[in-house]
Subunit: 249 residues, 2 copies
DNA sequence: TCTCTTGGCGTACAACGTACACATCAATGT
DNA sequence: ACATTGATGTGTACGTTGTACGCCAAGAGA
């Protein structure tokens, strides 16, 4: 982790640790280096995909890399860095063709892609903290969304708030979808019906308290209980409609 | 954790473990019991409030309760139960007066209250998994929201999806607000300006790649960068407007 | 050739969740 | 009155975790 000199605006120079992201794109400085940020990130993602977020421990990662437990610490400052790296790596898959101009189509596409990505990498829903969005791939997404929203007469703050609102919804919705899915998987419940049957005693107790009459009344007549994709799109379209209203379109 | 008999619909009876929630409301079965679910939950919440999510370990909880490390396991099946208990406990603070009839006011009030609650108990943003919503207090919230949405010509599925969409947004938005806040706190950055100054090198590197021209252009002209409440309400109102559109109001 | 930097290794420690066997007390049936 | 039983708390112990710290070898520059 060598430091380098950097000029700041006032002609003074300071020593600056090259950031995780700067180092991520640099080639290995020596030939000996068998570990690189890229290899570390790839292995960690693979591990998480195969065995879940809990399996991502520094030791298991090290064995997967064929290396001693502490080796990765030369490249990564700790587990926080590791999650950030993993998060950025999978986020790099998200793109919307530059030819697409319609703001709504852009935001919608990113939202659906993000949900898919999170379902494909469920550990994204369990990462300790939904990390600071200052990673290259996240910035690229923000850039593309801003570009789509710009020029519709919205002030900067509203533009920022708008795409972040979509992001917040997507994250929240998918996170709870994942949580439910994992909960079912852990208990070996394969279908929604099986889940409801298993949870019936608890549900019955709660209902028998008589405190939730409306819920009882409507709960039964729902027909899309097991259609998370539909529910997701419903919510997503609500948010987009709200934004559209502000864009005056 | 005594089992009791329960009749199912077909006149057959099985042994059913009383659920966490059923036990939560029962008085202590013997006088000797110095530990109750209520006392455990209260201590855990207090611990988390004072020292953060990471401080909630079974051992620290035990010492706080003046009891041996393993004692709580008689009442709680593990750490998962504990989080659920804590989550339910703080959620019980959420209420909207029955006199309020307007659906939008109800949903909006719950959303703002939830954000406040999460900011007051930041560990809610770091709980391993945003737990299954089958707890008494969460059900009460759902009940109240459903009641407000009912009778506006929306089908059951849409009603469910609508209030869940709001919940997803609230969770996602507040979670990232908390993450940023904690990140700043950990680094001792007090103001937004101080944070930006500290993050400037990373930001500069990213910007100097030339990949984010739109972001660069608009990023500077934003004037509400440090007004999370405003941003939250902006997004919230987008979601509510989208729902309003579907209610035909 | 000698030195310095880089990168991987090995050991070590405190803290974690929780399994399991044990002890102790209150209530209960006789 | 007394033995029995179930509910509660205790004590010990194990395997696993994140990571601090010091060491050593391999390549780069002089």
């Amino acid at each position: 982790m060598a430091a380098r000199k950097e000029e700041d605006g006032k002609g003074e120079s300071r020593l600056v640790e090259p950031s995780l992201w700067e180092r991520l794109e640099r080639p290995a400085p020596t030939q000996r280096a068998s570990l690189t940020l890229d290899r570390i990130a790839a292995a960690a993602v693979e591990l998480a995909d195969e065995e879940g977020a809990a399996a991502v421990t520094m030791r298991r990662l090290a064995t997967k890399l064929g290396v001693a437990p502490m080796a990765a610490y030369r490249h990564v400052s700790g587990k926080g860095d590791l999650w950030a790296l993993m998060f950025d790596r999978v986020s790099a898959q998200l793109t919307v063709d530059d030819a697409v101009g319609d703001w709504r189509e852009v935001l919608r596409s990113f939202a659906l892609q993000t949900r898919d990505m999170m379902l494909r990498h469920p550990w994204l829903g369990q990462v300790p903290t939904p990390l600071i969005q200052l990673t290259p791939a996240r910035m690229a997404v923000a850039e593309r969304q801003l570009k789509a929203l710009a020029g519709h007469g919205l002030d900067t703050d509203s533009m920022m708030a708008a795409f972040r609102a979509v992001g917040a919804f997507v994250h929240g919705a998918t996170q709870s979808e994942i949580a439910l899915r994992e909960y079912k998987r852990e208990n070996g419940w394969d279908s929604g019906d099986e889940t409801r049957r298993a949870l019936a005693p608890q549900m019955n107790y709660l209902m028998d308290t008589g405190r939730y009459p409306t819920y009882r009344k409507y709960g039964l007549s729902a027909t899309r209980k097991d259609d998370p994709a539909w529910e997701f799109e419903f919510g997503l379209d609500c948010v987009l409609d709200g934004i559209a209203q502000r864009l005056g379109i």
